[in-house]
């Protein structure tokens, strides 16, 4: 084993270009961010709202924010540790909690703009596909885009649980049922019942019963 040339020598450091801080920290995906935040120039100052869903180990955060040169402005944020304060019990990072948080977000947001009670969203939880329709003569439904951040958007992901909650609550977010739990990718069919069970936490309850029986 002879001498190996040192790769990280002075010349290397002199020429090294650091990535953006948030990219180095592994927090932002600039490829996605550029496409999510840019507003068409012929829409001038109209903010482009995005619903950011961040799943942490113990919590799920739903935020609605828009981009500003000084820094992103958060319009509204909800956390899964809030439902317990309103009396909803259960785990904080399961599908049901995340759905509820999305729902809470959708109901809280129009308040900020003074347009609550115009769009009620879906009153009954069916797990079925639902898209808010704007009512003529009233302010249009609040439109935003889902920002999954760095989460891998696999089917059944909690990010989509929050999305479903928000959509059922009355926000207008472009989506399809392909990534919801209950979608069969082979037969390309969406099983509404399975999705509904996930939303209601039935899958957790069923597993608990199964485990109890086993003992």
């Amino acid at each position: 084993m002879g001498f190996v040339k040192v790769v990280k020598n002075k010349a290397y450091f002199k020429r090294y270009q650091v990535k953006f801080i948030r990219q180095q920290e592994g927090k932002t995906d600039y490829y996605a961010r550029k496409r999510l935040m840019i507003q068409d120039k012929n829409k001038y100052n109209t903010p482009k709202y995005r619903m950011i869903v961040l799943v942490t180990n113990r919590d799920v955060i739903c935020r609605i924010a828009y981009v500003c040169i000084e820094g992103d402005v958060t319009v509204c944020a909800t956390y899964t540790h809030e439902p317990p304060e309103h009396g909803v019990k259960g785990g904080l990072t399961n599908d049901a909690a995340v759905y509820y948080t999305g729902l809470l977000q959708a109901h809280r947001l129009p308040n900020r703009f003074g347009m609550d009670k115009i769009y009620e969203g879906q009153v009954e939880v069916t797990g079925d596909e639902y898209n808010v329709e704007s009512i003529d003569g009233q302010p249009g439904a609040f439109a935003c885009y889902l920002d999954a951040g760095l989460a891998r958007t696999t089917s059944g992901s909690k990010v989509f649980g929050a999305l479903k909650g928000a959509v059922d609550g009355g926000l207008s977010i472009l989506h399809s049922t392909i990534q919801f739990p209950g979608y069969d990718s082979e037969s390309k069919e969406f099983n509404v019942e399975v999705h509904r069970k996930h939303i209601m936490g039935q899958n957790v309850a069923d597993y608990m019963c199964y485990v109890v029986e086993e003992d």
Partner: protein, 131 residues
């Protein structure tokens, strides 16, 4: 020549800072044109690099700009569409707009006090004599 003008600066390559895309451009704004090698779409022709023009149209990702181009013996006012990445607000207009604001304020104050204030800008005078 274009090898250097269209290339990115040392250690400034790669992902474009997103503030470039956040600028609001309106009709009548004065903008500088500077081609950016990272974004190949909507690039201005090399003869417009470094030119300043006025926006006459705004589309989704670009602005239509009226720029003066010298062609042999004459200067033509050309209309080109340039992507947002290659444009930035010109500061040439800022000093004038600031001057207008100051003038308006001076006029208001002078009106209240019923005096007359000279509003024209004066070039910097020669320095005072020092022995």
């Amino acid at each position: 020549m274009t090898r250097y003008t269209s290339s990115r600066s040392f250690r400034k390559r790669g992902v474009v800072p997103l503030a470039t895309y956040m600028g609001i451009y309106k009709k009548g704004d004065i903008v500088d044109i500077k081609g950016m090698g990272t974004a190949q779409k909507g690039m201005p022709h090399k003869c417009y690099h470094g030119k300043t023009g006025r926006i006459y149209n705004v589309t989704q990702h670009a602005a239509g700009i009226v720029v003066n181009k010298q062609v042999k013996g004459k200067i033509l006012a050309k209309r080109i569409h340039v992507g947002i990445e290659h444009i930035k607000h010109s500061k040439s207009r800022d000093s004038f707009l600031k001057h207008v604001k100051e003038n308006d304020q001076k006029k208001e104050e002078a009106k209240e006090k019923c005096t007359w204030v000279p509003l024209t800008r004066q070039p910097a005078p020669p320095r005072e004599a020092t022995v």
